[in-house]
Symmetry: C2
Subunit: 218 residues, 2 copies
């Protein structure tokens, strides 16, 4: 398994290639910042290895073993992210780039021991679920803050966008996993929200709210 193959498998998974509707060559190319023709080439190779289903012009879908592989890579990526934050004082906007490299290290013992060292965490620093060693993972019950009604109260449990710019914005406004958010007002004009956090009120754009996951308080 080369690094490039692993990156394709991971990307296809993230684009929904584990479901039933195939992913287009174009979508993969765009996500990976490469050209559709390169994707076609790789699709053939991955199909030969039994990792994807591929029929010309019909898009790409992961096979069973493709999904297993994707989950193992995602598991490594997210465990490394936890490690970087918990043990090495990385901030959540710094981890992705390094985890992109670390996820390709080949050693089963290594990742199992990292898992143990961290106490078998279930979620990464962005709130995403970490697949177990045998490929199971459970998405947490969550909803976008932008889908909450006025006066709704929830706990921040994850982010959708994980770009450094967004994460730094959150830091600056003291929005972190675990904090309680109450929706005070939803502006009809631009869908921006006024929320209450840490006993202060703050106005955030719809786009911000559409990238924050919360768990509704029962």
């Amino acid at each position: 398994m080369t690094r490039s193959e692993e990156n394709y498998i991971k990307t296809i998974f993230h684009l929904g290639g584990n479901s039933t509707s195939p992913i287009s060559t174009n979508a993969i190319a765009e996500q990976m910042e490469t050209k559709p023709s390169s994707v076609t080439d790789m699709a053939k190779k991955l199909a030969d290895k039994g990792l994807v289903h591929y029929k010309k012009y019909q898009g790409i879908l992961l096979t069973e073993s493709g999904i297993r592989l994707a989950l193992s890579i995602i598991r490594k990526h997210r465990l490394w992210e936890v490690f970087l934050v918990e043990k090495l004082d990385f901030t959540w906007d710094e981890v992705h780039e390094v985890a992109e490299q670390l996820e390709h290290i080949k050693s089963e013992k290594l990742i199992d021991q990292i898992d143990a060292l961290l106490g078998y965490p279930k979620y990464d620093p962005h709130g995403d679920s970490i697949p177990s060693k045998d490929g199971e993972f459970f998405e947490r019950d969550k909803q976008l803050l932008s889908d909450m009604p006025k006066a709704g109260v929830g706990v921040c449990v994850g982010v959708k966008d994980t770009s450094p710019t967004f994460l730094k914005f959150l830091d600056k406004n003291q929005i972190a996993l675990g904090i309680t958010i109450e929706v005070l007002e939803i502006e009809e004009f631009d869908q921006s929200l006024t929320i209450q956090i840490h006993d202060k009120s703050l106005n955030i754009s719809h786009q911000i709210a559409a990238n924050l996951y919360v768990k509704k308080q029962s």
Copy 2:
């Protein structure tokens, strides 16, 4: 800096390419299990980048910046080895293969934080010195066990051969860094040694003794 380039630089350093006598194409090829013609190709590329001095048929020598690069790779390799042993319960025969991969991860913060987490260790699990961040490193005062005289007493401070087979042999015989070794007898016939460790006597071949470093007791 590609992975392959880094591996060449590291190998040249280990073959003594930081001194004044150039390393031959053949020696590098043998060490890296590749062909001399491949080494020639890479020598040109590294020379273009200013990392080695290279004149046709005259062998290869690291430049100042080549040495700096080599030391930074070796620093990473050895710090990762310490991490694997200290934090993840790897044995000293398991670390090399994984550290070979980890040493190529590109993140200054990562390796600095690993260094801090480990408490700025000076030696790796095989007793080799870890270069500091600015490229300084001091070889410990040590000698081969095979060079010790009869009745000499020393503390094991390192190994020369770091192959899994050798290290497993040492484990099996409870030879580890820090233990005290006394030379009881040197056989004239085959230069094998009878040594005293842990209050037991043990006979080891000359080849074993020639791969164990000790620090003589004053």
